[in-house]
Point group: C2
Chain length 263, copies 2
Amino acid sequence: MQPRRIALLLAYHGGGFHGFQRQPGFATVQGEVEDAFCAVTGESVTVIGSGRTDAGVHAWGQVAHLDTWSRLPAARLGHALNAYLPDPIVVRQAVDSDASFHANGSAVGKRYGYRLAVAETRPVLHRGLMAWERRADLDLAAMRSGARHLLGRHDFSAFAAAGRTTTNDVRTLQAVHIQRRRGGLVFAFQGDGFLYKMVRNLVGSLIEVGRGRWGPPWIASVLQSRERSRAAATAPPEGLVLWRVLYPKPLFTPVRGHSAGLD
Amino acid sequence: MQPRRIALLLAYHGGGFHGFQRQPGFATVQGEVEDAFCAVTGESVTVIGSGRTDAGVHAWGQVAHLDTWSRLPAARLGHALNAYLPDPIVVRQAVDSDASFHANGSAVGKRYGYRLAVAETRPVLHRGLMAWERRADLDLAAMRSGARHLLGRHDFSAFAAAGRTTTNDVRTLQAVHIQRRRGGLVFAFQGDGFLYKMVRNLVGSLIEVGRGRWGPPWIASVLQSRERSRAAATAPPEGLVLWRVLYPKPLFTPVRGHSAGLD
């Protein structure tokens, strides 16, 4: 007999967690889902996510898989997990998947959003859900123009986390959109993959272009330099949301639900 | 010499406060603003709001006034207050006002919003900012039809807080709108005044109509009965936002800012 593989579509508010990945002694999303699974089934499983998200980073469409001997129908398993999970984490859907499906290995792309309040005073209602820029005169056209230099297949080392060593930093950025949304901005990124802290580093540098500190071509020169030290500071985590993980075959049923402007 | 009167435009996340009104031993919005004012000027003032908001209820456009001997320009006072206020409260604007202006007494109307996530699973990103309804098949047309019975000048006793005694429960409701917003609903109410817990009681009863428990004319019959016991349960506080207080003369400069879909 074989265990079966279950895929989970997860949403979470990253504010109270030390990121996705299990760490002894810290509340993490992976740890909470594994603990809830054990509470429901009595079984210790390993939950494998499509990738990590950092402390404070949110997800509307994180995907994870796990192998279990439980015979509970997947949808019931999802409901049961929600009864045990802390409020800031929810299983939006649980489905049976092929044994060949791997949340990380099968992913062919990701979509991230980044929300920035642009106002003289700090956001209070959406505190923890948006970063904050005080300067009302951000130059949106310049930011969009800078963002166009990022499209396509590049070595993104300059926008990876500092002090990190990876063998391959080449990724393809398929889309970057920056839209005004009620006095703030929403950045949307889609790519075949993202280096650690890459989205927040891209946002940080695009904001500098918006402030007029650098012209749009500066983005191209930072990218070409492959030097992390040339890019701007990393934008804070609370603005970032993992919207969606893309797979060759859709796993989950599209459900009209409360996406709160995040998908 | 006379003290001068300052009007404040306040936004706050009500989650961490025991409502607006000062209460010894509890964190309240009024208490925090008075404490911040004392920290900035050394002066003990009384901050008078346009009305109370309950524990957990948010404001995007609460208005308050205070009298002070301070000679600091109003805008600088606002910035200084923000440096002392806790993160969930912000002074959006501070302006000099006529001595005849009274945040409560001069108000001629208010606008409230109520946000309801409608989804099978609880909202996690906007937890604390939206109430939650699990039933995806809420009948919006029936709710709108029920809401029309509320428009105009009525004795709203049936939708006032239970166990309360007021001499005059007659109010004029000028507008009620219910809109779909990304899989959830936003209710908007404008009236010349609202009884204690009235908006949350109206929302609670309209949701029952949406669920099909009662037809739209039930709203009219509850209203006419003037009996609180006939209305539905009070909707939870976290969905409610005081959007705006209306005065005969605009007090504050319209500023494009981060309203986060709340104004």
